[in-house]
C-alpha cells in the first residue's frame, strides 16, 4: 500500500466488502470511549486494513473536522463514502453510531430504574459537574487558538451573548455569524499577507 498516489487516486480500486467495512466501523464505534478517535480510525483504516494511504486519510480528516457534525462520525461517513460510495457512507454511519447508541440507551434505562433513589440523584449531580467542567475546558482550549486577536474574540463574545444570554435562535445566529466571521478572517489574512 506504499505505492505513490496522486491527488485523484482516491478512487483507485481497493477491494472493500460491505461486511468488512461494517466490521471495521462497529469495532471503531465500540472503542469510542473517550477521545482520540482520529488515531483509532487511522490505525484501523490505514495501518490494519490498508484501505487508505496516510495522505488520503489526512485529507479526509481535514474535511471531517471542518464540516458540521461530530468529528468521529463525520470521519467515518467520509471514509465510507470514499471506499464504497453512498452505501459505504451509510454502513460506516450505522457501524460507528450503533455501539454508542446501545450503551447510552442502556444507561438511560438504568437511569429510569434508579432515579427515585437519592444516591442515584447525587451521583448524577456529580457527573453533571464534571460534564460541565469538561465542556468549559474544551471551550477554553478552543478559545486559546484565537490567540487574543480582537476580531475573532469579539466574534466569539457576540455569539455567546446572542445565543447564551439573549437566547436568540442558535440556528439563525450561526447562519448569520459564519459569513461575517469567514469574511473578516479572509480580509485579515489578506492584509497580513500584504504585510
Amino acid at each position: 500500500m506504499d505505492k505513490p498516489v496522486g491527488d485523484i487516486d482516491m478512487e483507485r480500486e481497493v477491494n472493500v466488502t460491505s461486511l468488512a467495512l461494517l466490521a471495521s466501523f462497529l469495532r471503531l464505534g465500540a472503542s469510542s470511549f473517550g477521545g482520540g478517535m482520529a488515531g483509532w480510525t487511522h490505525r484501523e483504516i490505514v495501518e490494519r486494513r490498508g484501505w487508505l494511504t496516510d495522505d488520503e486519510f489526512l485529507k479526509t480528516l481535514t474535511v471531517a473536522q471542518i464540516m458540521p457534525g461530530a468529528n468521529p462520525v463525520n470521519l467515518a461517513v467520509y471514509v465510507g463514502l470514499k471506499l464504497r460510495g453512498v452505501a459505504g457512507a451509510c454502513i460506516a454511519l450505522f457501524g460507528m453510531v450503533l455501539p454508542a447508541f446501545a450503551v447510552i440507551l442502556a444507561m438511560s434505562v438504568t437511569y429510569q430504574q434508579l432515579k427515585s433513589h437519592p444516591e442515584a440523584q447525587a451521583v448524577l449531580r456529580g457527573l453533571a459537574c464534571v460534564g460541565i467542567a469538561s465542556s468549559l475546558t474544551m471551550g477554553i482550549k478552543t478559545a486559546r487558538r484565537l490567540k487574543g486577536h480582537a476580531v475573532p474574540v469579539l466574534m466569539a463574545v457576540s455569539v455567546f451573548l446572542m445565543v447564551g444570554v439573549m437566547r436568540w435562535s442558535l440556528v439563525a445566529v450561526v447562519v448569520g455569524a459564519i459569513p461575517v466571521s469567514v469574511a473578516a478572517t479572509f480580509w485579515i489574512e489578506r492584509e497580513k499577507s500584504r504585510g
Binding site: 470511549f33 464540516m67 461530530a70 453512498v86 467542567a133 475546558t137 471551550g139 487558538r145 455567546f160 447562519v175
Partner: protein, 179 residues
Amino acid sequence: MGDDKLLNLILLCIPLSLVSIGGGQTIVASLQHQTVDVLHLLSGPQFTDLYAISRAAPGPGTLIVALIGWEVSGLWGAVLSTLAIFIPSSILLCILGSYWQRHRHSAWAIAAEKGLAPVAVGLIFAGVFAVGQSARFTPLELATSLGAIAVLLTTKAGPYPLLAVVGVGYFLLSFAGMA
C-alpha cells in the same frame, strides 16, 4: 400527544445537525432552551440529568438527543432523533466534502477553517452557560466543577477518571446523608 412531541424534537434536530460545527457541544444551548423552555419536552432538572448521562457515556456528545428522544417517546423516539441529528450533516458532508477537498488550499477555504473557530467557541460557552444556569448548583457542586476544571486544564487527565472519582464520592456523601 407523544407523537407531536417527537415531531417537534425531530424538527429541532434537523437544522441543529447542519450548524453543529465542531460537534455536539456547540448545540447544547439550543437543545436546553428549546426542549425545556419552548417545547416543554423536559423539566430543567431532567435536562441536567440527561446532560450528565450523555457526558459520561461513550461516543459523540450529540447522542444526548437519543436520551431526549427516549424520554419523549421510547425506543422510536431515540432512533428517530438520532437519525435526525446525524443524517442531515452526513448528507451535507457527502455533497460538499469532495468540493472542499479540491479547494482546500484556496484563500477562502483557509479563511473558512479559521473563521469557524470563534463561532464554535461562542457556542460552547453558551452551552455551558445554559446548562450551568438551569442546573442551579449548590456551593459543593460549584466547588466540584471548579476543581474539575482545574484538574482538566492543568493535568493530562481525561474526564473519565474524574467522572469515576466524583461519581463514587457523591455516592458516598449521599449514603452518609451529607449531599
